[in-house]
Every structure is written in C-alpha cells, then in structure tokens.
Amino acid sequence: MLLVLGDRTAVWYFLVMTDATSVVVTGLGFCTGLGPDPWAAMSRGETAVHDSDDLKELPHKTAAVVERIDLRPWLKRRKDRKLMARPSQLALAAGGMALEQWSGATDALGLFVGVGREPGDDGESEPSLVAAQVDGRLDQEAVAGPCRDLYPPLLPLKTLPNMALAHVSIHLDIRGDNGTWCGGSAAGLMAMRAGIWSIRERRSVGALVLAADSWVSAGCVRDLLRLSKGERITSPGEAGVAVFIESLASAKQRGAKVLATVDVSSELESSRKMVHHGSLGDCKAADSLLGLALRVKQGPGREVYAAQELGQPPVAVGLSIEESMACYSAERKVLTDV
C-alpha cells in the first residue's frame, strides 16, 4: 500500500527510489475515545461520541472523550504526569505504543509532533487569576501578592505547545532530529512530512511521528461554537496518534513487519473529509495523522466504516465573554451560565 502526502514538486526522487530512500510504517499507536484499536471498534460500528457532562449546559453537548489514559508503561517518574497537559499525555500513550516494536537504540531516532493551539491548563491558573482581580479589574498589587503566591510555578511549562515533544523525548529517550508543528488539522501531516525527509536524508535512522490534540473541554467547545458563527459543529474529540517510520532497508534488516509505505505527493491528505469524525470526533491537530494511521490499520482493499454522527440540535451562538474565557476567569460556575 502506498500512502501519499503533500508536495507537488518533489517528483525527482521517484527516479532514484531505493530501499534506503523508501520510507515505511512499522509501528502504530493510538490513544482515542475508542481505545488503542479504534479501527476494530469502528469496524464494529462503535462510536466514542456521546453526551458529555462537561458540556451539558452548552448548546452542543456531545464529544468523543478518552476515558482513561494509561501512562504507567512509559513514565520514568510517575509524578511527571502532573506536569503534562492532556495532549502531552495522549501523545506519550500513543508514542510508547508505536515504539514497542522497535528494539534498537532510541537516541538517534527523530521525533516530529503536530499539535494544536496552546493546551488548556485544567484550571490551575484560575485561583491566581481570581486573586488578581478586584471588582472585575486586574489589580497590580494583587498580581504581585496573592496572585503570585497562588500561581503554580511550573504552569508555563505545562501549557507550551512543544511540551508534547518534550515529554515524549524524555520518557521514551528520543534524542535526534525533531520539531513541533502547529497548523490546525494539517499539523500531523507536516510532522509526517518532516519525518519522511529526515529518514530519506539520513538525519534519523527511524522516526516517531506524533499528533495529539484535545478539544473536549467546555472552554474549547465554546470557542468552536463562536468560530462556527451559527453553523452546526462536528462533535469535538481528542486523540493521540503515533506512526513509527523507517527506511525499507532498515525494516528489512531487522525483519520488521512493514504496514505501509509513506511518501509525499501532490495532494494534501488533510483536504479530504475525515471519515472518522463520526466515531472519534473532530480531533483537530491530530486529525490528519489519525486519518492516515487508520488507513494503514485498515489495510488495502477495505473501506473505513464511518459511524453516523449523533443527532445534534441546531447550535446557538452569541455566548457571553465569561464562557469563552472560563479558563481564565473568576469562577468555575461561569461555565454553566449559558
């Protein structure tokens, strides 16, 4: 099976394709609302899109939530989990799974990650920001005093976009060529593209390509509703997906099972409708790589089963300022003031 990615001009190397420059998939990892094998669940017609307690007061009430993220096999120090925003956890779970089949050293592996916008901080900054406000205004003395005292010292390092890469590199001990791409649903494909070239240009002996994103919180859904300008939104989801790639020569040498060949070509995969939205929700920055990984899992000659989107009422927009800024504002209760 040949999968194609991105570029209209990179034709020349087809002429010189060898086992050393052919890039193949030998590992996959998923952390999704349908568990670690979403393809099997989708084939049974299952969906992870359900009513979410967090969204019950919003006009859109369904999301595909990952119920449990088991990081125990991968964490070097269990307490490090506290430092991880949700996309980092999703990325590590998927990355660890995809790397299980690799028995070589990890220090020369590449790591390429697609992420979305800055992840939320699970409300950890709220107490300090509440303390910084007096009569709804920022109070400089309060910022310097109670706000400062309540501000979690490691918070800036939890929510930076590159933290998924950082945590995966630390816990899986990956030290080579790397990068984190932001760019909506295409982010995962940008990461994949960088990984393919890193193998082909011999900057990495193998590469873990990851994408992770989470849009299931009330704050995220409010932003989606506002951005939709009155249109219905696809149920949001969250996922971590990982694809391990290496050269065909490397896979042959170590006797690895080749799942698919990946390459770059003229058509952007991300422009296609994502058939997994009905089962796994719209996973934003994880979406395009998730679509690619599902196609690998699907194998040749089979169609991905698309579960039906659950019925949703028409969406009303015009939410108040408190709703869209709940993660920064005074009290949790504003989440429910629709």
């Binding site: 991105g6 570029d7 001009t9 990179a10 020349w12 430092l83 220090d107 979305g116 916008r117 800055e118 300090s128 920001l129 910084a132 406000q133 709804g136 205004r137 920022l138 400089q140 910022v143 310097a144 005093g145 400062r148 501000y151 010292p153 490691l154 800036p156 390092l157 930076l160 976009p161 590159n162 933290m163 890469l165 950082a166 590199s169 630390i170 899986l172 001990d173 030290r175 080579g176 060529d177 790397n178 990068g179 984190t180 791409w181 932001c182 760019g183 940008m190 070239w197 900057r203 506002r226 951005l227 015009g318 939410l319 108040s320 300022i321 869209s324 800024m325 920064y328 504002s329 005074a330």
Partner: protein, 396 residues
C-alpha cells in the same frame, strides 16, 4: 548535489531598535535594551524589568496586536531588501510560541463584557503570524509554524533551508516572533526561578557566562529572513547577504527545565549542523551562543561547545544586550551572525566581568572585536530540551 540557499533579505525589531542596522550598531556598541517595565505597573512584581521591544508604528493589517505588528515590521524591512517574493514557489515558516492574550487584555474583557470575535480566537493559534505573513507577502506556497519554545525560529529557519534544498519551493520567508512581557509571564517565569532578579541593576542583569549571573531577562521582538535558491537569486541579480549552509537539531531527553550537565544535546545539535554544512569545527570563526545567563544553561552549552570545537573559537551571547527573545531569538541571532560576517565585527557579551571558570570559552567580552570570518554558528536551546544550530557563511 544540494541546492545552495542564500539570504537576500533581513528584518528585525528588537529591544535595541527598529531595524537590522539600529540593532546591530547598538549590539556592537555594547548597549543594553533592558530597563524597567514601562508597559504596565510592575512595581509589585518580583522582577520589575524586562527587555521590552521597540514598538513600530501601527500597520493596517496588525489587528491591534503587538505580535502581528512586530512581525509585519520585520517583514517589511526584509522585503524592502530582497524585493517582492510573491507566488506559488514561495513558502512561509515561522517560529511562534503561544497565542494567548495577555492578562491585561483578559482582564479588560472581563470588565467591558465584550465577547471575543472569531478573529481574536483564531489569533490564539500560534500559526496566526504565519498566516498573516503569507497573506501580506503574497506567498502561496507551503506554510508551517514551528513551536519549540526558545528553539522555534531556529528550527523555522532550518525548515526553510531544507524545503528549498529539496526543491519544494524557491523562496522561503522564515523567522520568528514573540511578545511575552506581561505580569503573568513575569510572575510565572520568576516562580520557576528562571529570571534574573537584579532589580537594582536592570542593564547588568543579563550576563551570560559570568560568575554572578542569576537568570535570563525576558525580551520580545521579531526577526525575518528571506531565503532563496542561490541560482534563482543570481539569475535575478539579487544582492546576496550570506549563505545559509547548515542546520542541525537534537533533543536533550533530560528534563523539562534543565539542560544536561554534560552538554550532550548541544554537542549533538552543533555537530549535526557542521555535518550538514560540510564543514570542520575549525572552519567556524564565531559562535553566537544561546547564552541565556541562567546558572544551568551556560555551563551546559559551554561543555557542548568545548566538546565540539577543540579550537578556541570566539563566542558571545547577544542576549546580554537584548534579553531573551524566546521564540524569536533563533532568527534574530542568525541575522546577528550574518552581520558579523558582513561587517567583520564580532559582537560582545556585555556584563561579562568575572567569566565563570566552568564556562571556559574564548569570550568576546564587553567590547566588539574585528575579525574576518567565513562561517558563523548560532545556537538556540529551548525549554523542554529542543536544540537547534544554524551555520551562516560568507557568500563566495
């Protein structure tokens, strides 16, 4: 045969001034862009100084956002030098960190109850500056945004190099931007213990490799480079400023906040860049170090440099003058390296009064040095352990 990549335009906005020439002159004179915070009342904060950017005039497309205004000003300067670069064979790759509005903006919104617009929400995406630069420059080729903290724009420049080499595009607009000086970021980084707290001497606060260093100084700014396929630049008679000849990167895989004491990640990144450029260590005539002035970074980087360069290559950190521009530092410091090659001057590390013995490098201390060099390297190492190194070369 690799396609060679040259630089035909550069622009920057920094705490030292608007434009490459102003910043460069100030760096070489050993000036400091660090001062007491003026944008808001920081009198009660643990750190009351920063390297606030010089603010360019408002731009019709900046949407009232300082980050967008900075990147547009840097872009305008770069395009004035290179000439227009629109078209499908031009791509954009910028380094950008967070898109979060400042605490002041959030607080104001809570007060006036104005809902954020869809545009404001979309600006929270780190890719927002990339989209704007593509639109304004007319670049219709591939767009991407790299977000690896302090390494972001170094990796964005590297991505531009690789894309042109591979033949994806002929021109890349690359660089980075960051605006982080607000109360909550200062509070957060201060609580991390990462910032200098030398409130009584802001201009002396950023002192990379000095024994008395106590943390970095938060800065902000933007840097843009126009990268171009060398043959295309020659064919159109463009003025070539320098060649971008090598790029390497690595992960520390150590800790989120700390650098490995043995400097292994820095070593791996620098050797990868040398290998990519086809150069030997002795070919490099100057290193613009990441040199943050934190107790942890500087010895780790020094170890990496010493391991990579057995010779005594001159080293300085211009963060001593302009603070730490975070996601923009890689691009801005790459431009500094180009200026060092072009003007045959090596910019100094200011405030380097008592060099730390554990950072035993050949420092360009306090005063610029004259030197004709053919190749320079710049390092950027980020929170989370991403490292990037670029090699800039005299164009023959």
């Amino acid at each position: 045969m690799k396609r060679r990549v040259v630089i035909t335009g550069m622009g920057m906005v920094t705490p030292l001034g608007l434009g490459v020439e102003k910043t460069w002159q100030a760096v070489c004179r050993g000036e400091s862009g660090v001062g007491e915070v003026k944008r808001f009342d920081a009198s009660g904060l643990p750190v009351r100084f920063a390297a606030e950017t010089c603010e360019p005039p408002a731009h019709a497309d900046d949407e009232g956002d300082l980050k967008l205004r900075l990147v547009l000003a840097a872009l305008a300067e770069a395009l004035e030098q290179s000439g227009p670069v629109p078209g499908e064979r031009t791509g954009v790759c910028l380094g950008s960190e967070i898109g979060r509005p400042s605490l002041e903006v959030l607080s104001k919104r809570l007060t006036d109850m104005t809902p954020p617009t869809a545009d404001e929400i979309s600006r929270m995406d780190p890719a927002a500056p990339t989209r704007l630069v593509a639109r304004v420059s007319g670049a219709k080729g591939p767009q991407s945004t790299v977000s690896t903290a302090c390494t972001s724009s170094s990796q964005a420049v590297g991505e531009g190099l690789l894309r042109i080499r591979r033949g994806d595009v002929d021109v890349m607009v690359v660089g980075g931007v960051d605006v982080l000086v607000d109360a909550i970021m200062i509070t957060g980084f201060a609580k991390l213990g990462a910032l200098s707290e030398r409130n009584d001497d802001p201009k002396g606060a950023s002192r990379p490799f000095d024994s008395d260093r106590d943390g970095f100084v938060l800065g902000e700014g933007a840097g843009i480079l126009i990268l171009e396929d060398r043959q295309r630049a020659l064919d159109r008679g463009a003025h070539i400023l320098a060649e971008l000849s090598g790029y390497g990167c690595s992960c520390n895989a150590y800790r989120i906040t700390d650098s490995p004491p043995d400097g292994r990640g820095a070593y791996q990144s620098m050797t990868a860049a040398l290998r990519d450029a086809g150069l030997e260590p002795e070919d490099i005539g100057y290193i613009n170090a990441h040199g943050t002035s934190t107790p942890m970074n500087d010895p780790s980087e020094a170890k990496g440099i010493i391991r990579t360069f057995p010779n005594t290559v001159p080293v300085s950190s211009t963060k001593s003058s302009m603070g730490h521009l975070v996601a923009a530092c890689g691009a801005v410091e790459a431009i500094v390296c180009v200026q060092a090659i072009r003007t045959e001057q090596l910019p100094p590390t200011i405030n380097l009064e008592r060099p730390d013995p554990v950072c035993a490098l050949n420092h360009v201390a306090n005063v610029a040095q004259s030197a004709r060099i053919d190749h320079a390297m710049t390092n950027a190492f980020g929170f989370g352990g991403s490292n990037g190194s670029l090699v800039l070369s005299r164009h023959d």
